[in-house]
Structure formats: C-alpha cells, structure tokens
C-alpha cells in the first residue's frame, strides 16, 4: 500500500502512460516520448486542478 496520495497519483500516471506507450507506439523512442508527455501531463494537470480546487471549502 502506498500511503501518500501524491505517490498514488504518480504511480497511476506512470502505469497508464507506459500502457498507452506500448499500445500505440512501436519504436522505443516514440514510446519514451509518450511516457514523458502523457505521464507528465497527467501529473501536472492533476496538481493544477488540485490547486484550483484549494480555495473551495469542504462540505460541512
């Protein structure tokens, strides 16, 4: 079990990116590019969405 939320999110992004890299690309260089772009986009966008949601109060 990974106790950290951020590490869970990073693990999820990396696994999904590797999966789609092998599913959609044939050459190792293209696969590496997909892993970096897709995985990076998922991580960065998740952090942006998290910070955008930060000012909203939790339901009480």
């Amino acid at each position: 079990m990974i106790p950290s939320h951020v590490l869970n999110m990073v693990a999820f992004a990396v696994l999904v990116a590797i999966f789609f890299a092998f599913l959609t690309q044939s050459r190792p260089k293209d696969r590496a590019r997909v892993v970096v772009v897709l995985g990076g986009a998922m991580i960065v966008l998740s952090l942006i969405v998290a910070y955008v949601m930060y000012p909203f109060p939790l339901a009480r």
Binding site: M1, I2, F12, L15, I18, F19, F22, S26
Partner: protein, 159 residues
C-alpha cells in the same frame, strides 16, 4: 481435352491461420498472453507487468471488486470491467470480499448480504480505498483494450 483440376488444399499460411478469437481468449486469461501468442513478446511482457502491477497496487491499497447491485445501475458496468481481468478477478474477489461474490443479495436482512457489506466496510475504512478501487477498475479497462488490440492484430488491421 481435360481441364486441370483445381487444388482444393489451402496454402500453408491459410491452413495455419487461427481464429482471431483465440488471442482474445488468451488475453482475457492472462494479460499480454494474446500478444505473446502472436509473437509480440516485448509488448506482451510490458502489458503483463503493467496490468498486474496496477492490479496488485489496487488490491494492496484496499480496492474492492465491484458487485452487481440492482439499485445502482453503474455497478453492472463496474462488475463487467472487473470480470475483464479473467482469473485475476477471482483473486480480487477472494481477497476483498472473502469469496466469489458477484451480486449483492437483495434482501436487506440476509446474512450473506451483511457479510459482504461488512467486508466492504472494512475495505472502505482504509485511507487508500478510493485509489485501490480505481486501480482495479483501470486494470480491467486496460485488459479490455488489450483484448481488442489482440483482435485487431489477429485480423491484420494493426501491426
């Protein structure tokens, strides 16, 4: 003059051609096995590692296999998604629900329903339950894509 008799024996490539559903069935049984049966060993190894890692992380993080609840229509989709993992789904049900439960008993007071609900409550209390269930569902979706990909390769639509 006699006409030549056409040879009815199919060429070797046609004789050896398997049904495209065989790789699909193999892919359902073990993630990546469908691709391995078609000679894509590197892809097969990567798919096996990624799908089993996603599945293992999901189970270790408190993820729970979905069961059909007639009051929640989306539970049908989630259960179908879990079933796409093949034999791995048996493992996740045994670990997370204590047995091969596929449908929540409808009667509220039945002991079977209470036992399943208690197992699910124990899992929900884990802090990473949501992550775990998402990982399990994602592993199922990945294997559905692998089955479809194996079908496309077997049909010659994709290299």
């Amino acid at each position: 003059m006699d006409e030549p008799v056409p040879d009815s024996t199919p060429p070797p490539s046609t004789r050896l051609r398997r049904s495209p559903f065989v790789p699909c069935l193999l892919a359902w049984c073990v993630p990546g096995l469908g691709h391995l049966s078609m000679g894509r060993s590197a892809r097969a190894a990567a798919f096996f590692l990624v799908v089993t890692a996603t599945f293992g992380l999901g189970l270790a993080s408190g993820g729970t296999a979905s069961v059909v609840d007639p009051q929640q229509p989306l539970s049908y989709l989630a259960t179908f998604d879990n079933l796409a993992l093949g034999p791995l789904d048996l493992v996740s049900r045994s670990v997370s629900l204590g047995g091969l439960v596929y449908r929540l008993p409808e009667e509220e007071s039945s002991p079977e329903r209470q036992a399943v609900m208690n197992r699910m409550r124990d899992r929900v209390r884990m802090p990473t339950y949501e992550y775990g269930s998402t990982f399990l569902l994602t592993a199922g979706l990945m294997n559905i894509l692998l089955i479809l990909d194996a079908f496309d390769i077997a049909r010659g639509r994709k290299d």
